[in-house]
Amino acid sequence: MRWRYFGGPPTRQALRRVGYLPEERGLYQKSGLTDVLRYLGRLKGLSAKAAQARTDAMLQRVGLYEHRAKKVQALSRGMNQLAQFASALLHQPDLVILDEPFSGLDPINVQVMKEIIHEQQQRGAAIIFSSHNMEDVEEMCERVVLVSGGAVLLYGALDELKRARGVQTIRVSAPRQPADVPGASQSTVKEGRFEYLLTDGSDPNAVLRAFLEGGIPVERFEVALPSLRDMFIEEVSRARNA
């Protein structure tokens, strides 16, 4: 397999345009926070002055500036994670690779990180976001690749993949459901709503008609695309059973 970075081979210069946050967090625990970030910035080609300026700016952005004089080991797990996240973005990379960036973070820090990732997208950086949390992926990503057992099971724009599934989910808020719902392969009750998974080619309007013809008042009727989580379960289950 041949890799190409920014239209060329993965040279050292090309790799310097990459910012990487590994899943295992591991800054040098006994070093000072500022020292570590400045070091990593220098390795990415920043001058000493620029590395210091970017370190200060990123620490302020992630809310760790007042902890800058501390040793890394004195920071909490969440702070460690934010510090390493900041180190990956110090040199304003064109490609940012984030491996499970939110694991172990509290909701406030997750929100801070999501905002910064969004800023990076707006700056023009490409983000590769690796996660097992499908809700995060749906929220953050435009395109997805689903890999299981080393094989690519799914790849493409998220919206297109959902529409291409052919199977749709219908959610109906009603006091009861008819005896027969046409085209529904699966029926569940979630949060007081009936949810039906339609088979290929089924008409969602037939479900609505079944409720109305049964004299059941419908408070809300929703045709939903499948969630990424459902797609994940379906694809991985299929691959494992194959």
Binding site: R12, L15, P22, G26, Y28, L40, L43, G45
Partner: protein
């Protein structure tokens, strides 16, 4: 500046600051100077206690010849027995030396208190510098005086290389104490301890230090691999730059520490002669100390490259620890033959171990602390070590890169071989 050199410089700067910034480094660096100062302070105290005990003992044995003579120590002459082949010395201009034909006669005068010390220049003195030194507790600075007389004689007697060399080298004193009761026994424990500490003890400290710095490098590499920091580093610099920067940084930190230790030895040890007369002045050879530093650095480079390779090929510091014994045991192997190194440093085994890169540092440090080593042997040993170190460093960087791709897995021999052939 090429990216690789830039990477080396940045990694070097970071690792060096990290290393010397710790309290452990400061404590270890100051340990030897503090120890030497403590010894310097302690010797007169210990000797004071010993003298006090001896004085008490002498009081009960009042009237013995040795004690009577001890009361007039400064004026008592020293005895000399000349058995040395190929060397004739006229002691007639030196009334402080009384010449004896036989050791027994001189020793009888020591026991009788006629003289306080007796020097016997053994037959192989010119070749090996061996001198027997019998002395009482009241002995003066005869050894220092004798060295000057012998040096003049060796330089004046002949211009043969052996004599000139002997004039440059210090004598190898084999010391015996003569008690007030006339008993002859091997040198005092204090003098032996101090001599050992300064000579072999210092060499041992250097060897442990180079092993320690190699082990620190192993831990650093293992830790970075374990916490995936290595992946971040290698998207920024080449494996060779990262590895070289680390090895150089720890090497310089070690060199700084060694320099402080050596400076302490140079400045403090000569003062021991003032408080421990039977040590008769400890010569400090700066050239020898520079050689010691060179072997320390070369030995460290080999140990570091090997240990870094182990760190790169294993999955964690815990797993790398036991494997590091594969490097540390050969490094320390010459210690197992230490008696041979001390008694016969030019024996074929110490010489052979001096040319095997993994055992060379320890062997040469022990030999240099014990005797003079031929310049050709020093150059060959050092050259072999430096070439081996460079090769090992290159190999370790390849393993380092390949190990990155095998996260969580132990590197098989086949994978290691592939990494070496194809660069990981």
């Amino acid at each position: 500046m090429p990216a690789t050199l830039d990477g080396v410089r940045i990694v070097f700067g970071h690792e060096f600051r990290k290393q010397i910034g710790g309290k452990g480094f400061l404590i270890a660096t100051l340990a030897i100077p503090v120890l030497l100062v403590l010894i310097w302070i302690a010797i007169p105290v210990i000797r004071g206690f010993a003298d006090g005990d001896d004085a008490d003992a002498a009081g009960s044995a009042a009237g013995t010849p040795a004690n009577e003579a001890g009361q007039d120590a400064a004026s008592a002459p020293a005895g000399i027995v000349m058995q040395a082949r190929g060397l004739a010395v006229d002691f007639s201009p030196y009334p402080e030396f009384r010449v004896y034909a036989e050791t027994a006669a001189g020793l009888a005068d020591v026991k009788a208190g006629e003289i306080n010390e007796l020097f016997v220049l053994l037959p192989d003195y010119v070749a090996n510098g061996r001198v027997e030194h019998y002395y009482t507790e009241d002995a003066g600075d005869g050894a220092q005086r004798l060295r000057l007389i012998l040096r003049d004689a060796l330089l004046g007697e002949t211009q043969s290389p052996a004599h000139r060399q002997r004039a440059l080298d210090r004598p190898q004193f084999q010391r015996f104490t003569v008690t007030a009761d006339g008993e002859v026994s091997a040198e005092s424990g204090l003098a032996v301890a101090v001599s050992f500490l300064i000579g072999q003890g210092f060499a041992i400290a250097l060897i442990f230090s180079l092993i320690a710095y190699g082990t620190i490098l192993l831990q650093t590499v293992s830790e970075e691999k374990e916490n995936r920091m290595v992946e971040v580093l290698l998207t920024s610099a080449t494996p060779l730059a990262v590895m070289t920067g680390k090895v150089l940084a720890l090497g310089l930190a070690g060199l700084m520490q060694m320099s402080v230790w050596i400076a302490a030895v140079v400045l403090i040890v000569p003062r021991f002669a003032g408080v421990l007369p039977d040590m008769d002045g400890i010569p400090i050879d700066v050239g020898l100390l520079l050689l010691v530093l060179a072997f320390f650095l070369a030995g460290y480079a080999i140990a570091a490259a090997l240990l870094a390779g182990i760190g790169a090929a294993t999955t964690s510091a815990t797993e790398a620890g036991p494997l590091s014994a594969l490097v540390i045991i050969p490094l320390a192997a010459p210690f197992y033959a230490m008696p041979l190194f001390l008694s016969s440093p030019d024996h074929w085994l110490p010489r052979l171990l001096s040319f095997l890169p993994v055992t060379a540092a320890t062997s040469m440090l022990l030999r240099l602390a014990t005797s003079r080593v031929a310049p050709g042997e020093v150059a060959l040993s050092l050259g072999l070590m430096l070439v081996t170190a460079a090769l090992l460093l290159w190999l370790a960087s390849r393993i380092f890169r390949a190990g990155l791709l095998l996260y969580g897995q132990r590197m098989s021999l086949r994978a290691a071989w592939a990494a070496l052939r194809y660069g990981g």
